[in-house]
């Protein structure tokens, strides 16, 4: 029997409810954008004058560039290291069958199922005991503790969908372990790796509770916003918040664009090779 979406009870109200919740989820973000379009010292909505002045001022400021640079530096390093650790981590999670795998699968989840402010404080205690002065590099480490398990899960989900027999086939054809990994496994899990790196970048970029305790004298965007929203409010604060969101949106768009580009190039390559095979059928036979 075919599916019957029309007759299923409660579908319409459920969709309506879902749409309503999504609208509510975006109200705060819209509010930040609205608040940034003023030139008054305090928020008095609706603004008498709607202006982009706050952006003009924010963009010209050293603070804005410096905050973005610090957050970017941390997020980029976190993304690179976390992918490097999470690829083997995911193989151990989803692919290899070994004693202790069950325990490992659970242990790796613990930093995710753990209050982040508490993790940040614990790391602060550890840094102080080790005599390390916190700066952006210690924040990278703190972010890794939380991000690497998440990236491992993201890549693992991709690995579950990969048939290990493909790798076996490569071995049978004489591939070395490295070759099999590079030519077969890596391309198969590449989308997972890209998503994982993007996740890592964005999670690090937007993190507040870990950075709060582990950046020392350096300041990330979320930290700065957090400190300025309580005291020293001005329309520049929401403006910088909007800029920070736009910057992370840019990262997402860049990755999506690169992915689309690669797919388009790949498609052209296959079609042109198909075409040449058609033109010279003899060449196709090995």
């Amino acid at each position: 029997m075919s599916a019957r979406p029309e007759t299923e009870p409660g579908l319409r109200p459920r969709q309506l409810f879902t749409a309503l919740v999504v609208v509510l989820l975006y109200l705060p973000i819209v509010s930040v954008v609205l608040a940034s379009l003023a030139n008054t010292r305090y928020l008095i909505f609706p603004h008498r004058v709607w202006t982009l002045d706050a952006y003009a001022e924010a963009i010209g400021q050293y603070t804005t560039a410096h905050l973005h640079a610090t957050s970017f530096k941390i997020a980029l390093v976190v993304a690179l290291i976390s992918v490097a650790l999470a690829i083997p981590g995911a193989l151990a999670f989803a692919r290899y069958r070994w004693r202790g795998r069950r325990l490992y699968q659970r242990a790796i989840l613990l930093p995710v199922f753990f209050p982040q402010p508490v993790l940040g404080l614990a790391l602060l205690v550890a840094l102080s005991a080790a005599g390390i002065v916190p700066d952006w590099r210690t924040a990278v480490f703190a972010h890794l503790v939380w991000v690497v398990p998440i990236v491992t899960l993201v890549i693992s989900i991709r690995l579950y969908g990969f048939d290990p027999a493909q790798e076996e086939a490569a071995y049978d054809l004489g591939a070395t372990r490295l070759q099999a990994f590079r030519e077969v496994t890596l391309p198969a899990i590449a989308p997972g790796i890209v998503s994982g790196a993007l996740f890592a970048f964005l999670l690090s970029w937007s993190n507040l509770p870990l950075s709060m305790y582990t950046t020392g004298a350096d300041t990330t965007l979320p930290e700065w916003l957090y400190s300025r929203m309580a005291t020293n409010y001005s329309p520049q604060v929401p403006a910088i918040a909007v800029l920070s969101v736009a910057a992370s949106a840019l990262a997402v768009v860049a990755v999506l664009f690169l992915r689309a580009l690669r797919r388009a190039v790949g498609r052209r390559r296959t079609t042109s090779s198909e075409a040449s095979t058609l033109a010279h059928p003899a060449r196709a036979t090995p």
């Binding site: 999504v22 509010s31 650790l85 193989l91 989803a94 613990l110 199922f113 209050p115 508490v118």
Partner: protein
Amino acid sequence: MASLDPRKAGPLAMAPVAALLVVGFLVPLVLVAWLSLMPERTFGLDAGLTLANYATAFEDGYIVPLGWSLFFAAATTAICLLVAWPMAKTLARRGSAFALVVTILVALPIFVSESVRLFGTALFLMPRGGILAGSLNALFGFQVGSILYTKTATLLGLVYVYLPFALFPMILGLSQVPRDQVEAARDLGASRWQVLREVELPNAMPGLLIGGLLVFVLAFGANTEANILGGQSVAVITKSIDQRFSYAQDWPLGSALTILVCAITAAVVFPVLERIDLDRLLRR
């Protein structure tokens, strides 16, 4: 044979991650536990061991912020699960364009900093010139009160921030409910309530548990929501801990409170993780 013995490959592949977790998670927590046994207001790790900080934690009334944190965590979990369920049922349907768009829309704010989103919530809720109050006044000419800096606002902020964490595991769980089982139950005359209890809930349970657990633990340890939206109206335990470490400079007492939070977290997390088959949940 070219293929490495998987029994050896596993430990080798997980070694870097394991090292990170030992140095970045286990060791700090052991240090905090050790520090919690030091005399009050000391910074060294070599004084005599004492349980005085735990006694102080109970005598000085830290049970109150602990209680509030537990209340917020429980309330946030309950509300998130109730709100997420109908959404998850809509979004778990494969191949629906509506579901795809909405799923992406719900996922995106996770990557917008908590600072920005809670800041926005505060701007929205602000009295008089706030986005909501100002708009209502300008459009309809009436004044509304504000819930900003109350416990209600704190709870609202928690639900707002952690809803996606309940939703996505729930979608994962619900997508494993076999459709033909639901159809069969309906054809055999099961009511909606029976379908829910006998078919959907048992199948979706791992996703529900993971989602509920995530929300509970994260909300239990959250402090930014209470700081930004709750103002002075409520002290949660992580705020108390933060104050012990910063203003009060009493790290041992702060550590003792941290260990209490860890103990409660562990008591909730371990039994649930024990029950869940991760291979089955993550395999699509």
